[in-house]
Amino acid sequence: MANSNLPRRIIKETQRLLSEPAPGISASPSEENMRYFNVMILGPSQSPYEGGVFKLELFLPEEYPMAAPKLGRICLDILKDKWSPALQIRTVLLSIQALLSAPNPDDPLSENIAKHWKANETEAVETAKEWTHLYASGE
């Protein structure tokens, strides 16, 4: 398995993520592939996502940390051209948490939500709350 020649950096990062998790964030490597993480981020309080749990999958490509982690449909500048190898999994997840507390319509999590957001902020906040309730509550 690829786990055998895992760079020390990834091992150290993983250890720290497990021993000193950031508040509201949990990231644990999959047993079969240590480059594959299951991530959960709590919806920040006072945000439209409050009370929800967001599940994400994070993957560290072969080139990591020279290349950014892969994170599905999340749109973050630091995952693209603003990536630096001095950034870490933790910094990336904290940025997503920040994004959830103050959604930026120009840097959207998903295009649909963003469209909604710009058009009608109150309504979008309601929709987000509803989605949180529907898809992210509990399990």
């Binding site: 760079p7 020390r8 950096r9 150290k12 990062e13 080139e63 940390p65 020279m66 290349a67 051209d81 630096s84 190898p85 001095a86 950034l87 910094t91």
Partner: protein, 514 residues
């Protein structure tokens, strides 16, 4: 003019044959001659030349601003090589410029003094400071991480020219000096310096890279020149304006439209590119291996036909002296009463037929030219030597052969592009089309005879063990065909450059032709 009289064209040619001696027929429209004529419009630059130009700017900034050449390079590449803006901004507010481009005067980050080991923030390992490197900001990383960081950035493309320190939010520039000291892979270093050079060429309006694949040279154009034909160090001839292969006398607009059309139609016309066609008589597939369009089917059929129109060669050839018409496009006449739907279908069909006609000829001449370029090379490197020994001729006496091939290459080029013009000739000016097709037909038939003679008649002398008496005859024939073809092409080029205006010609007997 020749074209006024049907027989005139063969007569004129005969005169040509009579009046010209064999040895001093030097007239040909070779690429080299053209270059000499219009050489004043451009200078071919090899990579070292461009580096020198770039170096001059860097040196100037370096000395005027009193910074290292590497810093000057960082500054210039972030300022799009705008020398004046660099100077203005720098002297207006040096501090601001330094912060913007990431050239710190002193480190912004200092490690506690006496610290033995420093943790590399990329690999998380500890290193002695002497095994670590930083940009002007002072953020230390181990050499291996720097290597990975710089290599990744260079492989990502031109963004590496504005590479910054890997530390989060640090803007310190990582310049060529760091690339050179940290990277040992020559290919990566070369890629970086090439990207740096490209960024310089990109902003220079009077310098463009040669579009030939695998060519690293460029051309500096004398802005305002009327003639766009340029030639690179690699011998590739191209149009400065549209970067297509040289296409005079055809306009850039026509060429660009035509190339777009070709890429749009590429799926529909793959069959045209096929290298074999069924013989029109026996239907067996015949491969086209030669450059000229005269095809002879394999025995026992031996049918002689034209590759382009599949018509009998006798109807184009010199044997009959007949009128060469396979360049002509006969639009399908739409007679009678068609229903709307039928009319549309007919229209679509004839549009495709028309395009196919021109595209096939454009393509065939292109291929034929490529073949001729290879053949000329063979002539120059092999055949001339054989003939010098076998026929006892001097190099100067054998010049007529290379001249013939140079003429063939140039004529194939012109002919090819005239098929793009032909496609776009206005439908509502039939006189222009007739005039054009007449001149093009003359040029093409002349070229076919020249090409065939050069390609097929020379072979005999290559096999000969001793000098052959009729080598002189061959020489006269090939030389004459070269100059006759040159004339025809000059007429065609001139006419196209004059937008096919038939000055002074009131009655045009061309119309009476078959």
């Amino acid at each position: 003019m020749d074209f006024e009289d049907e027989d005139g064209y063969t007569d004129a040619e005969e005169e040509e044959l009579d009046s010209q001696g064999g040895s001093d027929v030097g007239g040909h429209l070779s690429e080299e001659d053209e270059n000499k004529d219009c050489g004043h419009n451009h200078t071919a630059l090899c990579e070292a030349d461009i580096r020198n130009l770039q170096e001059q700017v860097i040196t100037e900034v370096s000395s005027v601003l009193n910074i290292t050449k590497y810093s000057a390079t960082v500054l210039l590449s972030q300022y799009n090589w705008d020398l004046n803006k660099v100077k203005d901004d720098w002297f207006a507010d040096e501090e601001k410029v330094r912060n913007k481009v990431g050239l710190m005067e002193k480190p912004v980050h200092n490690y506690p003094p006496g610290k033995k080991e420093i943790n590399c923030r990329i690999c998380f390992d500890d290193f002695l400071p002497r095994d670590m490197v930083s940009a002007s900001c002072g953020h230390m990383f181990c050499k291996l991480c720097w290597k990975g960081y710089i290599t990744t950035s260079i492989n990502d493309g031109p963004g590496c020219l504005t590479m910054r320190c890997p530390e989060i939010k640090c803007v310190a520039a990582v310049g060529e000096d760091m690339v050179n000291t940290l990277i040992s892979n020559e290919e990566i270093k070369r890629k970086y310096s090439r990207l740096l050079l490209c960024s310089y060429v990109e902003v220079k309006r009077n310098v463009k890279w040669c579009p030939a694949p695998d060519c690293d040279s460029a051309v500096e154009f004398v802005m305002g020149s009327e003639m766009f034909d340029v030639v690179c160090n690699c011998k590739y001839n191209f149009c400065w304006n549209c970067l297509e292969e040289t296409h005079r006398p055809v306009e850039c607009d026509t060429v660009v439209k035509w190339m777009l059309k070709n890429s749009a139609e590429s799926e529909n016309v793959t069959w045209i590119l096929a290298n074999s066609k069924p013989c029109p008589k026996c239907k067996r597939p015949i491969q086209k291996n030669a450059g000229c369009m005269h095809m002879t089917c394999t025995p026992p059929c031996k049918n002689e036909f034209c590759w382009l129109c599949l018509g009998s060669w006798a109807s184009h050839g010199e044997k009959t002296g007949g009128f060469y018409a396979c360049n002509r496009y006969e639009a399908a006449k739409q007679k009678g009463l068609y229903g709307e739907e039928e009319k549309r279908r007919e229209m679509a069909k004839s549009m495709i037929e028309k395009y196919t006609h021109y595209y096939e000829r454009w393509q065939a001449n292109n291929k034929s030219r490529t073949k001729a370029v290879a053949d000329l090379h063979q002539v120059e490197t092999v055949q001339i030597n054989i003939l010098r020994d076998g026929q006892g001729e001097s190099d100067a006496q054998l010049k007529f052969i290379t001249e013939a091939w140079e003429q063939i290459i140039e004529c194939r080029r012109v002919l090819k592009w005239t098929y793009a013009s032909g496609f776009y000739l206005p439908e509502d000016e039939p006189e222009k089309r007739q005039f054009f097709e007449f001149l093009q037909g003359d040029a093409e038939s002349g070229l076919e005879r020249l090409h065939e003679c050069a390609e097929k008649e020379l072979v005999r002398f290559l096999d000969a063990k001793e000098p052959l008496e009729d080598f002189k005859e061959f020489k006269i024939k090939l030389s004459n065909l070269t100059s006759v073809t040159k004339k025809y092409f000059e007429n065609l080029v001139r006419a196209l450059e004059n937008d096919l205006a038939q000055e002074g010609i009131t009655s045009c007997k061309v119309q009476g032709r078959p």
